[in-house]
């Protein structure tokens, strides 16, 4: 799966789930915690989406503030789990 496809999927999910479809001001570097998007509970929701969408299994150690910082860092962790680091 291409880097841009992963990014696109993550962006669409975040924008539709937490931004009511409004993508203004949002980009791949937006800090998801500072934006009030990810907290302890929604992080779990995000992790479940990633597992389902990319058919991977995030380990508990993958779910941390660093990897869930923004779309770019999430893309990295998905790529690592998919095993196609291109």
């Amino acid at each position: 799966m291409k880097d841009e496809d992963i990014r696109q999927s993550l962006r669409e999910y975040i924008v539709s789930t937490w931004l009511s479809g409004d993508s203004r001001d949002f980009d791949d570097e937006t800090d998801l915690t500072q934006a009030g998007i990810l907290d302890s509970f929604s992080t779990l929701d995000m992790a479940a989406f990633i597992d389902d969408r990319f058919r991977i299994r995030l380990e508990p150690s993958d779910i941390n503030a660093e990897s869930f910082r923004n779309v770019s860092s999430l893309t990295c962790i998905v790529k690592q789990r998919l095993g196609n680091e291109t």
């Binding site: 009511s20 791949d28 907290d39 302890s40 509970f41 770019s72």
Partner: protein, 530 residues
């Protein structure tokens, strides 16, 4: 005559008797380290002596802003032994909310984790004395602020504090909950209030020293009173299930199994997470013998699954606002039938007396719905408000609508006002609306619960205002659970004939309208990173 060991009248007297005869027993099992009763007792004394040396007087409020840990419990114990009132602060709340609370109850001393102190300092929020619970040098603060490093706590005396003039009616702690006017409210709980619940709960759970009780709820949430004080009252062990573990159903089950947790008290959401992860069905949790839940309605189909997965455990539905702690309880004797709609909230407990009244204050007949009034030993002293205590009405009107069923058990019918529950946390919609309206680009906002989630409809003066900008603003003022999941921008809010915002129509429009933000405001493609 009262037995002072079993009925010590103050929460700070619960630990010393256990520490005296079993100092090596584990009081708090943290994620890495354990703290014995002897260590907890001494650290509580060290905190108390330090507070006294820093000028803490009886009745002063002392903030505790730490992750859940043995040190946090020792700080509360120490505050209590110094005859002060502890105020647990939410580690996940933004500094601006801490500032409001610190000003409201006049905090002069806060025990704080180094990372959290950095947040306060960055936001310019301060109190005269910080006691930094952690190694390393505290960050540099302004000249009128003192940051006392951890070695000052360690250097203080571990000997017992003499406090002859104490009363069970002294204030023990303040718990800040969401307030309808936009400012959090401090619920004032006395030692007598706390112990009425603690004693009832420890008896009901039949807690003994071998028990390992989970600490799941945040310390600023009233469920934690059981995890801490009921556990310590029986010489049992409180096992911290830390913030990271509570995120994952699977990890919570692993913690129960690995730590052989015997008693659990949480909101239903946490238990449902464990069910949804599949881990509970796979591994079971045979050590669990008592499950208390409270804070929100437990959906019957999930409760059925939970009781099936834990066939040996006893289940109790506890009920009561923070203002009354637990005032009603229902033992779930058997798995509810598939056609069951809800389980009762039960009968009055903890020595409380309840009544159900109509709008004129007259008692309603059995089977009719009315407001629940509570009086008795668990009812709070009052609210702390802008520096002053405001005494509670007796009996206390809860704002909850209930009905007495045919078997005498009370059934729950919802709220009278604009308070909703999100994941067991109470949220006053007014507080969310006030926070939203503080954004300079927002004219009006209406918040409500929709399908179990918090949502808001916002009328903005600035057409360029994005949902992301609104969320960012919320994150600086509200704890995460109070940030609306769905936010919709509208050009006009529907009004009643009197000109007031029509909440019913707004809710109905939200339910039927599939649109989200105004179409013109949303670019066609999702934006890319710069």
């Amino acid at each position: 005559m009262r037995d002072l060991v079993r009925d010590p009248m103050r929460i700070d007297r619960l630990v010393a008797p256990v520490a005296a005869h079993a100092p090596e027993r584990i009081a708090v099992q943290g994620t890495r380290e354990a703290m014995t009763y002897g260590e907890l007792d001494r650290l509580g004394n060290r905190f108390a002596h330090l507070f006294l040396s820093l000028g803490v007087r009886p009745g002063d409020r002392v903030g505790v802003h730490l992750p859940r840990s043995g040190i946090a419990i020792a700080a509360m114990l120490g505050a209590s032994r110094a005859q002060a009132v502890y105020v647990p602060l939410d580690p996940s709340s933004p500094p601006s909310r801490m500032k409001t609370i610190a000003a409201d109850c006049g905090l002069l001393h806060v025990v704080i984790a180094p990372a959290l102190l950095a947040n306060w300092a960055a936001a310019g929020v301060t109190v005269p004395h910080f006691i930094v619970a952690g190694d390393g040098d505290p960050p540099t603060l302004s000249s009128d602020v003192e940051a006392h490093p951890w070695n000052e706590v360690q250097a203080a005396s571990g000997a017992a504090v003499e406090n002859p003039r104490t009363s069970p009616d002294d204030l023990a702690y303040l718990l800040y909950t969401s307030g309808s006017t936009g400012v959090p409210k401090g619920v004032m709980i006395s030692h007598r209030n706390a112990l009425a619940f603690v004693e009832w709960a420890a008896e009901t759970a039949r807690l003994v020293e071998q028990d390992r009780v989970a600490s799941v709820a945040p310390f600023h949430f009233d469920l934690s009173v059981f995890d801490i004080w009921a556990t310590l009252s029986r010489g049992a062990t409180t096992v911290i299930v830390d913030e990271a573990t509570v995120l994952s159903g699977r990890r919570m089950v692993e913690r129960i199994v690995e730590q052989r947790i015997t008693v659990w008290y949480s909101v239903p959401s946490a238990l449902i997470l464990m069910l949804e992860s599949g881990a509970l069905a796979e591994q079971g949790a045979p050590s669990l013998r008592v499950v208390f839940f409270a804070g929100e309605v437990f959906p019957i189909r999930h409760l059925r699954r939970l009781m099936t997965a834990l066939p040996l455990a006893r289940f109790f539905n506890l009920f009561g606002p923070t203002e009354t702690n637990v005032c009603l309880a229902h033992k779930v004797r058997e798995i509810p039938g598939e056609d069951a709609v809800a389980i009762p909230i039960g009968r009055a407990t903890c020595g409380d007396v309840i009544s159900i009244v109509d709008e004129s204050g007259a008692i309603v007949p059995d089977g009719s719905v009315g407001e629940l009034l509570v009086d008795g030993p668990t009812v709070m002293l009052g609210y702390w408000n802008a520096g002053n205590p405001v005494l509670a009405a007796h009996p206390y009107p809860t704002g909850d609508f209930v009905e007495r069923g045919p078997d005498g058990e009370i059934l729950y019918h919802g709220r009278r006002d604009h308070m909703v529950k999100v994941r067991g946390f109470r949220v006053e919609l007014g507080e969310v609306e006030t926070a939203l309206a503080l954004h300079p680009g927002i004219l009006e906002a209406v918040a409500f619960a929709h399908e179990g989630q918090l949502v808001a409809v916002v009328r903005a003066s600035d057409p360029g205002l994005s949902i992301l900008a609104i969320r960012r603003h919320c994150a600086t003022r509200l704890p995460p659970y109070m940030i609306p999941t769905g936010i919709r921008l509208v050009a006009e809010l529907p009004r009643t004939t009197s000109g007031k915002v029509d909440r019913v129509r707004i809710k109905n429009t939200f339910t039927t309208d599939s649109g989200t933000a105004p179409a013109a405001a949303v670019p066609e493609s999702i934006s890319r990173s710069a």
